[in-house]
Subunit: 339 residues, 2 copies
Amino acid sequence: MEDKTMIKQTVLFKNKPRIISSYSIAGPKEGAGLFSHYFDLILKTDSFHEKSYEKAERKMMEHAIFNAISRASLNPSDIDMLLSGDLLNQIISSSFSARRFDTTYVGLFGACSTMAESLALGASLINAKYFNYVACATSSHFSTAERQFRSPLELGSQRPPTSQWTVTGSACSIISSKGVGPCITMATFGKVTDYDISDVNNMGAAMAPAAMSTLCAHFNDTNTTPLDYDLIITGDLGKLGSEILIDLMQYKGYKLGQNYIDCGQAIFDKTQKTFQGGSGCGCSAIMLNGYFLEQLKRGEYKKILFMATGALLSPTSSFQGDSIPGIAHALVIENDDLP
Amino acid sequence: MEDKTMIKQTVLFKNKPRIISSYSIAGPKEGAGLFSHYFDLILKTDSFHEKSYEKAERKMMEHAIFNAISRASLNPSDIDMLLSGDLLNQIISSSFSARRFDTTYVGLFGACSTMAESLALGASLINAKYFNYVACATSSHFSTAERQFRSPLELGSQRPPTSQWTVTGSACSIISSKGVGPCITMATFGKVTDYDISDVNNMGAAMAPAAMSTLCAHFNDTNTTPLDYDLIITGDLGKLGSEILIDLMQYKGYKLGQNYIDCGQAIFDKTQKTFQGGSGCGCSAIMLNGYFLEQLKRGEYKKILFMATGALLSPTSSFQGDSIPGIAHALVIENDDLP
């Protein structure tokens, strides 16, 4: 592996792209969950004093980007590129946020896999020495996602037991090869995987096969097993989706044990009635930038595998009878200061 | 410039990423335009024998990708990554197309700038030697875009004189540093630019400032002028938008003259009643992959500057009173076999 830059789906970063700064914002419900102490800002109202939820989501992302940059002791003009995406049609949260920053912009769409997609591409560009600093960001908002993907909240539609709760939150990471912070050592890019699930209220089942595909590719490409990581993190499979992933991996000969956690399953308290847990781009984004990176820095973990998963449907594709394709991108993030 | 990899917004590619193959599909109206001889496939009906226009658009992209791969004498499994995006909510044309190919996938959203965005990122990844072959694709369809962004066609809404006609078409380029073909020598990534235009029927005016921003950045970064290129190509500013760009550039001290062309303005015949011309991701994509790359290969041009422009609005952002941010990414593409 020493002198290669890629092995099949996995790109190896020799030039040590680091997450030198990160910032996370959570909505009120997320801030009342189990990880409330780790988010940098918890909103008091999910409208964030804006006239629409869409504008609130955008404001969250602007805040996350601005504060991640400040925390790195940089100015917005120091950032060479912003890579971001979100769930809204034409990713307006990202594009309108990008308008506030005097930096080049690459818009992404990977549904809830966006945090991993942006970090994987951002690390690729930093590792290639094209840029000094890139910002990687994403967001989601319960109230914008519900009315876009499902029904207006005013309808009070009943939520089925397989459903998840879209996280209101946004986060941003600044990557550079100058500075201090956890190092992104590899990225495994995912393939679109579709096991013919068409239930739009069961995202976990739709995304679990993509998670399996990328995990297996990663272990194969890098000649590792689940035991080589202190923690394996999936984005928003939720409780049911995580169980499906554990089953699928077992079928492939890998045991996901105590060192496996799903952000969607973990983020809410059981009393919060979210059924299978959290979902949305913001879910894994605020858990990574709020909690896991902090644990890496503190030395609680030395090496984690972070994989965000996305369901690549639209209401139109579902109305036209299509199943739900999934994708997952994975990153190895290490605290290389630890022995 | 010799040993740098970047100058501000511009990335320099030393390892000669080449467009080794390309394929373009045009709808019936586009196939009746001025460039009909250059498109690889002209559809007889814009439904492409599918039950919905969305499925037709997807089928076009699948065909474009598959045929671009075949034309490079490759198998789909040789492609390391597909980078694609389109105009539809959650870029379903791209994601569902990606499902057909056993390759990693990065979903992009840059509205009509997507062909340039995908090529700029694809060339960056190939130049960094992460991958051997990447496919860059996009699509648009008049009938999917009209009903998503404006009104159902059945309403027969009157089109205002500043409007453009979304091109039905899809194209794919295969990039590699192995093989023969026009070389991508630089990419200038654009910044989101918003001059407070809010007329959703005047995309040219909304995007022209972004085009100006990226063009000026490119000329500054590379110490070139418009005269250094045999041809400067913009994506889909249309007739009015191009005139605005020419004015804006003049204001900035640059003269865009006989060597400037806009794909949107050029693609349709004046008798085709498209008002300001063509638009959509497919517009610049089929013009580049169908016509301009062929002219480069034939030696008609040695060095072109290809810049696709995107309007980053959604119906929701417009309904909520927002203006229209624009973006433009530019590529220098050269026939380096010519003296």
